[in-house]
């Protein structure tokens, strides 16, 4: 009979020995074992066998982090995070056996991206967004495989890259920036996404917000932010575009009218305010004799037109 003490001491070594033996065995013996991937998935290495150049490029791409990140759940099969299970395609090599987001209808392509990217603050205004309304897929602006200068991450860091991309569809808006009075996009110092969030915003026209919920105009023009002791109501309840054409205009100060007097008097023309029609803007006192140029430039005197801390008439 073997002493129990001896048995127990041998037994201590048994599990590590077995583990070592298992680990040291040739892989061929386990060829019949189940794949490390869920059913239907082939893994990135399989993709690389045919699409070597694409995968090599992809290695320099931000998405490639999925390949090594266990927490995201796509380790060693990150291609299939966008393209879906690829085992069938790897056997047949048929295009119809794999998902190509570029050829999917927009909503399906977007759902693929959103399965990971929905959980981002950028997407909060997604449903109010014109891009979502017009079914513009993510892949219209984001190319996933490109690297180097053509990578979306690189393009979107330069003003020229962003502007060129937006202008590709919004040709009519880009035309406004060719006018003499405009924001400085052509000079490369501003880009469309400085003011607009292409993924959506809670403000109309995808205007970005600053300081939680204020229009992004006040990020650069914080002197207009206020609050002022004497506010000019349209600045607050209708916004800057009441008087300004923010993209570009033939008129100085990007105004929507050629003369300041017209700009102001189109609203300030009610004998009673609110008028019977319910609109605000009372007519100025009779000293404003429009026959003299002095009175046609309202902001010559009403210089604090965006709001004043001193004068109810916005004079100082």
């Amino acid at each position: 009979m073997v002493p129990s003490r001896l048995i127990s001491s041998r037994a201590v070594w048994l599990p590590p020995l077995l583990l070592f033996a298992w680990a040291a065995m040739p892989g061929a013996l386990f060829a019949q074992e189940e794949s490390q991937f869920p059913p239907g998935y082939a893994g990135t290495e399989s993709c690389a066998m045919c699409h070597e150049d694409v995968v090599e490029n992809y290695k320099k791409n931000r998405h490639y982090r999925l390949e090594t990140n266990e927490k995201r759940g796509w380790k060693d099969r990150s291609c299939e995070s966008c393209h879906g299970p690829g085992a069938k395609h790897s056997e047949s090599a048929a295009a119809e056996d794999i998902r190509n987001p570029l050829k999917l209808k927009a909503v399906d392509a977007d759902q693929g991206c959103l399965s990971c990217h929905r959980n981002q603050p950028l997407q909060i205004g997604r449903l109010q967004n014109g891009h979502a309304r017009s079914q513009t897929p993510c892949t219209s602006c984001h190319n996933v495989h490109e690297t180097g200068a053509k990578a979306t991450a690189v393009i979107h860091q330069t003003a020229a890259g962003v502007n060129q991309q937006c202008a590709g569809c919004h040709t009519d808006i880009w035309a406004s920036f060719q006018k003499p009075h405009r924001h400085r996009l052509n000079e490369g110092v501003m880009k469309c996404t400085d003011c607009h969030n292409p993924h959506g915003s809670n403000l109309a026209r995808n205007i970005r917000t600053v300081h939680a919920n204020e229009p992004n105009c006040f990020k650069c023009h914080s002197d207009k932010r206020g609050p002022f002791v004497f506010e000019h109501a349209p600045v607050r309840n209708q916004g800057c575009s009441t008087c300004h054409e923010p993209h570009g205009s033939s008129n100085p100060r990007m105004l929507t009218r050629h003369e300041v007097a017209n700009q102001c008097l189109e609203c300030h023309a009610n004998l009673l305010s609110p008028s019977p029609a319910g609109v605000a803007g009372g007519v100025p006192p009779a000293i404003h004799d429009l026959r003299q140029p002095r009175w046609r430039q309202c902001t010559l005197c009403h210089q604090k037109i965006h709001g004043s801390n001193v004068s109810r008439g916005l004079l100082r």
Binding site: R65, K105, V107, L114, N119, I124, L127, Q128, G130, R133, Q157, A159, G168, T171, D172, A175, S176, Q178, H181, R184, G188, V189, N202, H211, A212, N213, R225, G226, P227, F228, F230, R236, Q238, S250, P252, R253, R257, L265, E266, L271, S273, P274, S275, P276, A277, V279, A280, P285, A286, I287, H288, D289, L290, P293, R294, Q297, L300, Q303, N309, V310
Partner: protein, 664 residues
């Protein structure tokens, strides 16, 4: 100062690069881990990028130099035209990638700098700096009949600077804390008006304001839901000063007032505005089931302002507050307080009950309430008497705006989607009535609008995409005479890829808005039609052409009352514009690395109507690679502005920039 900054940045860049390079070399020789080997074997340089250094010559602008500066403002001299450096050292502990880019340094009115630093799964830092010169000296904006100093009233020569920094930390995949700092400043000179009752005097204006914003928050990702909580604070200060010690006759042009000439011998205004306020936001996204997405946000800001104001005037001036009082010296002092709680909330939801149907519900609300108070003390001294008075002001402004939208998108076919919906908008606003408004010291206006929404998206075949979005409204009430009332808006876009290398894009936008209410009768029509062509034969290897043309038209017609006679007059604004731009790249034949590239193009705008203008900006660019790493480039541009109604505000000039591009 700028050179100093560049020097420091370059020093920092190379200091950071040096250890990174050493590490890279060490890895190459030792070839330790297999994963790292793979990265090293690629043999890619640890730093890539491009640096453009050159010099610019500007021919003395013909025409009005001030208008040139107001619109173009580019000067001459040596420049760092562009820089974009990207470092990805292997195995460096502090960062995985560093990117430094900037443009227009060395005296240009527009400078940018961008700095990104990232360590995968550890942190990410994004910093940007921009400096935009704001020079505006357009006589047509001021008093066009005045002369001398009056000719340039409301002129500015300032610099608006923005600094943005954000640091995100990735302790794991679930929580991402971040902190950010933003600074926005404006500094410079100008000319503005000091208004003393019946006269206005142009004075020098020292503009100096700035705002600092600090914010921090945390993003939490729980797989199917996400939460962001952010809190921030702003600090604002405005120290604008207005002053003159000259004898000024003012805008009356020497016309006596009640037999007396009004003049100013000494005028000073000092603003001391301090402000700030906290803000918070909570963002929420959830996808509890595959068929529903929920988005929500609650945003709150409470900016406050504490203004101080001091005015000191000397001369012969008039005060008409209590009769007509001619005084020789006046003092004004004001202290005030303003606060504006501002709350916004949005809740949106997308339901996908069927794989062909999506239903969207959106509720958005925005509420502002401004409460203000101020006390103004005035002292007026005449040769025989002194008058003191104090006036208190209490004001408020409230505005609320809410929109509720429901719409459905139906995929009738894999290539055809229709969209339809309804939006109801309502709001009200209360504020103090105008100075003359004796009937309504508090004005209340309402907004109410019913809007029908529709759209189609069709992709009959892969090469063609058609998008049409339309909305039509039967407005019940609007805030202002020119606000949206009865309108219809349509945007149609067609994208067609004729061949792999030839793409067309066409856009038509039309907004027709009318307010037929009695006393308003507003008619507004804006139309844009754009065509865009992109031709890249053989992948753009030899030739690539980008061209677009836009025809736009605005016509606004509304009556207003001439204040001095209270008679109606027509305000008709017309702007018919043709706009085009072209960018044609030609890769010319060459040998070896010497393969020159020629770019021709530019843009033009011609407008007719209320303010006709012609603005041309042709350009040509030549790039000649000298070696693989060094290219020579030269660029010519021409700027020409002509405005028939404002001939004194035209200019034209040539500009040549030439230099070397270093590819790394």
């Amino acid at each position: 100062m700028k050179r100093e900054v560049i020097r420091w940045l370059l020093a920092a860049l190379f200091a950071a690069a040096l250890p990174a390079q050493e590490v890279t070399e060490a890895k190459t020789t030792s070839q330790e881990a297999p994963g790292e080997q793979a990265a090293v074997v690629t043999g890619e340089p640890f730093m890539r990028g491009v640096v453009d250094i050159g010099a610019r010559w500007v021919k003395d602008p013909q025409g009005d130099f001030q208008t040139y500066r107001s619109i173009v403002n580019l000067g001459q001299g040596a420049r760092l035209a562009n820089m974009d450096l990207n470092m990805e050292p292997v195995g460096f502990k502090l960062f995985d990638s560093m990117r430094l880019s900037g443009s227009n340094w060395g005296g240009d009115p527009f400078n940018t700098l961008r700095f990104n630093l990232e360590k995968n799964n550890i942190y990410r830092f994004d910093g940007t700096y921009s400096n935009i010169a704001y020079f505006n000296y357009l006589p047509s904006f001021a008093n066009t009949q005045a002369t001398g100093a009056f000719f340039n009233q409301r002129a500015y020569d300032t610099q608006i600077r923005n600094i943005d920094n954000e640091l995100q930390i990735f302790p794991g995949t679930r929580f991402t804390p971040y902190v950010a700092y933003t600074r926005n400043t404006d500094f410079g000179n100008g000319i503005t008006t000091l208004v003393v009752d019946r006269n206005e005097f142009p004075l020098r204006n020292l503009i100096r304001w700035g705002q600092d914003t600090f914010r921090g928050g945390i993003r939490a990702d729980f797989g199917r839901s996400h939460l962001t909580v952010e809190h921030g604070d702003t600090q604002f200060r405005d120290d604008q000063q207005v002053f003159s010690t000259e004898r000024l006759g003012g805008n009356r042009g020497g016309v006596p007032f009640v037999g007396q000439n009004l003049f100013l011998t000494d005028g000073r205004q000092a603003y001391a505005v301090r402000g700030g306020g906290r803000f918070s936001k909570v963002l929420f996204v959830a996808n509890p089931y595959d068929w529903v997405d929920l988005y929500g946000q609650v945003l709150y800001a409470n900016p406050k302002t504490y203004p101080g104001f001091f005015q000191n005037t000397m001369g012969n001036l008039v005060d008409a507050q209590q009769g007509l009082l001619f005084f020789g010296r006046g003092f004004d002092t004001l202290f005030g307080d303003a606060r504006r709680p501002h709350t916004s909330g949005t809740f949106t939801m997308e339901l996908r009950p069927h794989n062909r149907i999506r239903i969207r519900e959106m509720y958005e609300t925005d509420r502002i309430k401004t409460d203000t108070s101020a006390l103004l003390s005035t002292q007026l001294l005449t040769p025989t008497s002194a008058l003191s008075r104090e006036r208190g002001f209490i004001d408020r402004l409230e505005a609320s705006h809410t929109r509720q939208t429901v719409e459905a998108l139906v995929d009738v076919h894999r290539r055809f989607t229709i969209r339809g919906g309804y939006r109801y908008e309502w709001g009200d606003s209360v504020f103090r009535g105008g100075v003359l408004n004796q009937f309504n010291p508090q004005e209340r206006i309402n907004l109410e609008r019913h809007v029908g929404l529709a759209g189609i998206q069709a992709r009959p075949w892969d090469r063609l995409t058609i998008n049409v979005n339309a909305e039509a409204s039967n407005g019940v009430r609007t805030y202002y005479r020119t606000g949206l009332q009865d309108y219809h808006k349509i945007r149609a876009q067609v994208r067609y890829r004729l061949t792999e290398s030839l793409n067309f894009n066409g856009v038509h936008v039309r907004l027709d808005n009318r307010n037929p209410a009695e006393g308003v009768d507003f008619k507004f029509l804006a139309q844009n039609t754009s065509l865009n062509l992109q031709w890249l034969p053989r992948g753009g290897n030899r030739v690539s052409i980008l061209a677009d043309y836009t025809r736009s038209a605005i016509r606004s017609d509304i009556d207003y009352l001439q204040p001095h006679i209270l008679q109606p007059a027509q305000s008709l604004y017309v702007d018919n514009a043709h706009t085009g731009s072209l960018l044609a790249d030609f890769n010319l034949r060459g040998s070896g690395v010497v393969r020159p590239k020629l770019t021709l193009g530019g843009s033009f705008v011609t407008t007719a109507g209320s303010r006709p203008s012609r603005y041309y900006q042709p350009t040509g660019r030549f790039l000649l690679p000298l070696t693989e790493k060094v290219h020579f480039y030269s660029e010519w541009r021409w700027f020409g502005l002509a405005q028939p109604f404002y001939l004194f505000e035209g200019f034209r000039t040539h500009m040549i920039m030439t230099g070397l591009r270093f590819n790394m």
